[in-house]
Symmetry: C2
Subunit: 120 residues, 2 copies
């Protein structure tokens, strides 16, 4: 049981769209990720996904609208709902989701899909 | 699917040790709580509990040591582990934990135990 600093974990890497696992509890994982540019449209069959912005701005695009989030703001994307995270300027995000969640959900992508994640 | 501002939710109430539920996903709940002073020693039989500090300082006391957390720092308290959150100056915290979690765990307290929580 040690404290975990979001800033320290986020300082460990530079690459975008590659979440790192920083904590686990109750079958869920807490991850940090840097996002820049446009991710891909996808949904998760079973997993709800929480995005909490810690730096920068995140646009969560849905098929019918976009929700813009800044630091200290979060959104829950329910399972089955198509979404596409976009961050033109780049942002840093905490994710909270079941341990089995794949970042691109139903959409398998040659370079973006991460089947295993680094634990930092 | 709306964005949720931690600051806006925390501005809705003043009382300490009374968590509010701000989001639900995968059988888990996201709560915000203000803590001031010393809570009570307790553990949770089954639930791991995550504390993420957003303002102020939190001392998480364990039987053998204390971990001090500031803004942007989190700790996971595994189920079964006795702990006592303390914040002499007051702090604001996000909790992630299973929906069934009772704030005082195994320790039933006349005024501190909250069997039902407000959703805000």
């Amino acid at each position: 049981m040690q404290k975990i600093s979001l800033a320290e974990k986020l300082a460990l890497f530079e690459d975008s769209c590659n979440p790192r696992v920083i904590a686990q509890l109750n079958g869920q994982e807490v991850k940090v990720v840097k996002l820049k540019g446009e991710f891909i449209w996808h949904h998760h069959e079973r997993e709800d996904e929480l995005f909490l912005v810690v730096r920068g701005r995140l646009e969560m695009r849905f098929r019918d609208r976009t929700v813009e989030l800044g630091p200290g703001e979060l959104i829950v994307v329910p399972h089955g709902v198509e979404h596409c995270p976009v961050s033109p300027e780049g942002c840093e995000v905490v994710l909270f989701e079941p341990a089995a969640t794949i970042n691109t959900g139903n959409a398998v992508h040659a370079t973006l899909t991460r089947h295993t994640l680094e634990h930092v």
